[in-house]
Symmetry: C2
Subunit: 259 residues, 2 copies
Amino acid sequence: MSTPLAVGNSRVKEARKLSRRSVRTERRLFLADGPKAVEGALSVAGCVVEVFATAQAREQHAALLAGVEVTLVDDRAMDSLSDSVSPAGVVAVCRPVDAPLERVVEAAPRLLAICADVRDPGNAGTVIRTADAAGADGVVLAGQSVDPYNAKTVRATVGSLFHLPLALEPDPVAAVRAAQHRGLTVLAADGAGEVDLFDADLTGPTAWLFGNEAWGLPDELAAVADHRVAIPILGRAESLNLSTAAAVCLYASARAQRS
Amino acid sequence: MSTPLAVGNSRVKEARKLSRRSVRTERRLFLADGPKAVEGALSVAGCVVEVFATAQAREQHAALLAGVEVTLVDDRAMDSLSDSVSPAGVVAVCRPVDAPLERVVEAAPRLLAICADVRDPGNAGTVIRTADAAGADGVVLAGQSVDPYNAKTVRATVGSLFHLPLALEPDPVAAVRAAQHRGLTVLAADGAGEVDLFDADLTGPTAWLFGNEAWGLPDELAAVADHRVAIPILGRAESLNLSTAAAVCLYASARAQRS
């Protein structure tokens, strides 16, 4: 039985540096923290480079880690690799899973989520998780969106980061155009939209376009969409937050497409 | 023109203590931070005890604060009163707005949200905001739920804390029974539920029952509901998070009740 690596071990130290975006970008690697994320990562061929686990977690997640080569670390080393308050004891070093825009859009014949300038890591992760749950075929993080490989976003996806195709596209208009070119109707979620969500025809192939959590969609971007759709606000709230609005829209599509 | 109060002023110091739950409970007061929250608080008769603002914010929010007696504070004093990274410059000391369970349920003839053991301040606030947006008539925070008057929850409601009746009920079963007694059908949002959300009849008066963000609803509580309803998971995600699940359920009701 090998001795667990300690916090000062060079492999642990190198992996820990992946908490910094610049290092992730340079090395084209990131950390997936916790059993759900590691399970997702292991399901993607060639994604996982190395799995760190405590002896206790290796035992606890024996089924997940069966046949997987595990680098044992002690508790302090695990704490240093996880940004969670209570680390689950298993972390994987992973290769990025994003694909070119064209490939993601091609793989999305029915339902796609495009986020423009989503800045909050938790929101981005929640939208990816919700898109997965609603049966979307892909997600595009467009514009100046948050890095999907930061620890908070990965955690908020609860594994969904590895479940559906993801594209990172600096130009949101290019993402919209690509979806339209593929035959999807692009619907901008927009509180001032001319179509009421409850009246919208959502039966066809659809790409939802969501804006920034604070300032929404710029007019010129919303104008590129085929329609602007408002979720009706029936009480006195001014709006919904990004992830709840995305959930309502994506599930409205899921329902319409199923029936 | 009076001199703005500084961070060491006794009124500022006393107000700042309201960031502690024990002080809020003892004094029956809490802080509403930012223009949306203050606007909501001012719309409730007798709620606001005192409004603190910087000179700049008083000018910027002149319409909101017209006719309101404002205690001017300097920037450091405002920073000490706000838990926001970038304080908006206006904070109100408020009296609690919750009402007895019976009164909230009586005021909720059509749509009610009951949260059991919601622990995350942001989630609780988002559910209140979403319930407001979906036109719910009231919210019950039941069981060992988070204090709705902590700064993060108040902020996440974006004013909705003041828009719809709110009850705090330690016993979740009592909340369910009260809703049923009032003629509402209680639907437990439960991933293992026997009814598919898309097939559920949501046209009648409904109370949604939501569980804790990590462990969901205890079986014995879900069993008290009239039906257990599952949001269909169409992809590979295991579940939705609490606030997105609540959004999907509440908006499904809003849609069914409108049509």
